[in-house]
Every structure is written in C-alpha cells, then in structure tokens.
Amino acid sequence: MISKSLRIGGMLIGYYRLCPRKAWWSLRGIAMEQESDAVALGRLLDESSYARSDKHLEIEAEAPDGTPLVGKIDRANLKHGVLHETKKGRSCEDAHRWQLRFYLWLLYRNGVTRADGVPFSGQLDYPLLRRTEAVFLEAEHYLELEKNVAAISSLAIQEIPPPVLTQRSFCAKCSFEELCFG
C-alpha cells in the first residue's frame, strides 16, 4: 500500500547511500532535521546564494520498474545544460554526487538533453568552501540508481528499521543520532 504512493526523491537517494536506517526513518515520516543547526544553515545558504539563477525546478520521471521519481533541483543553467546542487560542506560528498546523478538520471529518463543533443551534466557547489565539482552521469550509473530505487521501495514496506551503521563515526554528525543511540 505504501509503495503505491511512494515517490522517491533525491534526498532519499542520498540518505539511502549514507545509511539505510536513516532512509527508513525518513520513509516513516520521522524527521529530525528540524532540530539541526546544520540543516537550518543549509536552507539559509540555499536561499541566500545564487540569487540570479533559475531556482527550485521540479522534475518527475518513472524508474524502469514503474516507481515514480521526483527531483527538486536547487538551480539549473538551462542554456549550458548544467544542474547545480548547493551544499554546505563535503562530509557526505559521495551521497551528494549520487543525489545529483539521480537528478541527471531523471532528465535522461525523460529524454531531456541540451538543444544540441548533449546530455546535461551536474555541478556540486560549495559556496562556503569556494569550490565546485563536476558530476557526470555515466552508463554504469543507470543500473546502480535502478538498484537503489528498488532497494528503497522494499525498504518502504519493511516492518522494522535496518540496523545502525557499524561505523559509528558516520553518525556523529547525523541529525538522527539521538534517535538511533540516545
């Protein structure tokens, strides 16, 4: 029943790549970020940076298995075909890359390319670090994203939460830490 109404978004993909348990809490509608200063700062950063760009675009697509997908993109440069994702720091860099690849995948699934037929690319922006990183969607990523979507779909109907991460150091910065270990 849940899986029917389930829409998988980029944040969930990022959560899942970091920690399946965090994704499970999130799927249950249990949010912890309201307490987090880091998340509040991130939101403010999003509001206050890149004021001149097209911001907050929403795209929808379907995974090959029919799961509805949705992406809320921070900002895009449509002319150059670049999707941007703004982040505060690099601590979850891998999850950030996958979040962005997921958005690129949504465009790919919808058959959207630049006017000259070149696929969109992505860019992670770290305004506080004054760094950017280019992210590309390669053919080998399709299958990985497909697998992640399938895993999240089954996580959504799983009765009990997945175990906590074995590597506790990851949890120290997570807003769910107290929910898992408190």
Binding site: R28, G29, I30, A31, E35, I160, E177, E178, F181, G182
Partner: protein, 361 residues
C-alpha cells in the same frame, strides 16, 4: 538557543511586530474561581511592557493572570511554541498545544497498536514502573548512608520491599496491579521523607501521606507543584517528536489529555521533582513563609513558586555524561531521549526493547 520562558507577571500577552510582548498589569491577581467573577482582568495594564524575541522562546509557562487573543494563538501555533497555563493556586490548568507538525501516520498506528494489544501494553507499562522504582531506589540509597538507628532500619525495610516488588514486576499480569505496586512503594517512600529532610526541617514540614486536590500540607503542595512542572516539561518534549501525546500505556488515555506525559513523568519525578524539594527545603531557600492556606488547601505562594521554578530551570540544564552518545546531555534532554527510545521500541519491539531511564550517576 531556545529556552522556556516562565512568566509570573499578569497582563496581556500579545503578538507585536512578529515578536512577543507582555503588557503588564500591576494590581493584585484575584482568585479565578470566585462565583461572581465576570471574567475581566483583575487589573489594567499600567504601561509597563516587556518584549522578548520569539526565536528564543521554546515554550511559555504562564503563572500570572494572562489575557490572550486569537492572533497570539495563531502566532504561537506558527512558531510551534506550546504554552502552559497555571491557575491562581499554581495548579496546572491547560496547555495551548500548537498543531502537530511532526506527524508520522505509521508511528501513530504503531503506538495505538501497542496500546490495544494487552501484552504489548503491559510490556511498556512495566518498563515505566520498573524505571520509576529504580530511580526511587537511587534516591533512597543516596540518603541512606547518613541515617542512623530507627531511620536506618525503616529505610532498609522499605528498600527491601522495593527491590522485592521491582523483582516481581515481570510476573505482573495486569495494569491495575502494576499501579497498585507503584502506589504502595511510593507511600512507603514518602514516609521516609522526614528522615531524608532531617529533624529540624521535618519538624516544620510533617509528611503523613500524599494528599492532592487540594494539597493538605506544605510537602504535598511542593509535590503537586513539582509534578505539574514535570508533566508540562515532558509534554513540551513530546511535542518536539512524532509521538502522539494522547496515547499512553501505563495510564489510561484520558486520565489527562496528554496521558503519555504522565507515563514518562513517572520515571523523572524522583530525580527532578523529589530531589528538588529536598534541596530547596534543606537549604532553607523555601521555608514556612512561602506557603499560603486557601479553602482547606496549602499552596506555594507566588514568591515560593518563583524560587521553585528558578531551581527547576537550573536543574533541567544540569548535565550528565551519556555513554552511548559519548557526550554531555542535560536532564531535560534525557526526557527527549526517553521519547526516542520509545519510538525505537514502537518501531522494533523485539530488536530495540524499551527500558526506562535508570539513573547511572
């Protein structure tokens, strides 16, 4: 950093330019239960005004006579600030509980399921009583080494009864018995209070038994006031989680509106309320002049409530080292962690079985 605000003044609390302002009145507050009361404020604003930034307000404790309007209610709702009202005598009277913003349908269903299944409900109810008894034991053991003679023997006997009853909890088969066990231990525990307080204090403040509505003497007045502070502090922590405050396990939903708060408060009363009372009486910070008699009951005076609340606030921010989190957490945060433990249990009763807080310090 958000914090609770405790307002003792009377007046009109209003929204003003996106923040909060209290227009104070200076006249004396009149009891709010007189039959000919017209519902008008006891006195009018005298021009005094205090403003406080809404961003810093976690919750409001209103001990004075406060006039509010729906603009303020909407504002507090938007900001997610619960407000707790206390009557003329300092009794808890109501909560303005903003619309829930952290709902989780699945968790709520689990919570109801754990209430409806007698076995599951009993498991949780037992855990609350078990932890409450454990923490009472800790308080008793703290004072026991200083006692001599009869007091020592009586304390020893109570401890033995407590340990025996706590050990027998797993065999309990119904909530009613569970409540009776807790009540019995608490009665014996209250009888030890004169020993804990010492002869001098105990002679001024006798403790026979727990009597509420109205509290019959000074100690009962302190317990009642402390318990209502504890209850509302727990409510304010539950509000910050996805738990449904109305579905409880030890208490019946409907014992009070937010009955889950009564369950969780049982665990925290010994360390928050009881120890606060001992401290305030033993240091003489609260003494005979801080009590008033009304209509056959004994209540803390306004000045007494201020002293209690100030100490309460300090106590909540005391910290202990939490082993699993490897950081310091405040007593108040421990209440939140208790909510999280409950969420873990509701999500995975076999893998994350709930055990109530055992004071480890």
């Amino acid at each position: 950093m958000k914090r609770p605000y405790y307002l003792f003044s009377s007046g009109r609390l209003k929204r003003q330019h996106n923040t909060l302002a209290l227009e104070k009145t200076s006249g004396e507050r009149l009891p709010d239960d007189s039959p000919e009361d017209e519902g008008v404020p006891s006195s009018l604003p005298d021009g005094g005004r205090t403003q406080f930034p809404i961003e810093s307000v976690d919750s409001l404790f209103l001990f004075g006579e406060i006039d509010i309007n729906s603009k303020l209610i909407t504002f507090l709702g938007q900001q997610g600030v619960p407000a707790f009202f206390f009557d003329y005598y300092g009794n808890y009277s109501a909560t303005l509980y903003p619309r829930e913003n952290l709902l989780s349908g699945r968790l709520r269903i689990q919570q109801a399921h754990h209430y409806l299944s007698p076995k599951r409900r009993l498991t949780l109810a037992k855990a609350f009583v078990e932890a409450a008894l454990f923490n009472i034991e800790r308080v008793i053991k703290y004072y026991q080494p200083r006692l001599e003679g009869d007091a020592q023997q009586e304390t020893q006997a109570t401890l033995q009864a407590l340990v025996r009853d706590r050990g027998a909890l797993p065999l309990t088969t119904d909530i009613f018995t569970l409540m009776a066990v807790e009540g019995r231990i608490r009665d014996r525990y209250y009888k030890l209070w004169p020993h804990f307080l010492g002869k001098e204090v105990a002679s001024k403040f006798p403790m026979n038994k727990r009597e509420r509505r109205p509290p019959s003497n000074e100690l009962n007045a302190l317990i009642s006031f402390g318990n209502s502070l504890c209850y509302s502090t727990v409510v304010r922590q539950i509000y910050r989680t996805a738990l449904d405050p109305t579905i409880a396990f030890l208490h019946e939903p409907g014992d009070r509106r937010f009955s889950l708060s009564l369950d969780i408060a049982e665990i925290f009363k010994p360390l928050l309320v009881d120890r606060a009372i001992f401290r305030l009486l033993k240091t003489g910070e609260i003494n005979s002049k801080h009590f008033e008699k009304h209509l056959g009951g004994c209540y803390l005076s306004d000045a007494g409530r201020k002293i209690f609340v100030q100490h309460w606030d300090e106590r909540l921010s005391k910290t202990v080292h939490h082993r699993a989190l490897d950081k310091k957490v405040s007593y108040e945060r421990l209440i939140r962690l208790e909510c999280y433990k409950l969420i873990r249990h509701l999500s995975d009763p076999a893998g994350n079985t709930y055990q109530g807080l055992h004071m480890w310090w």
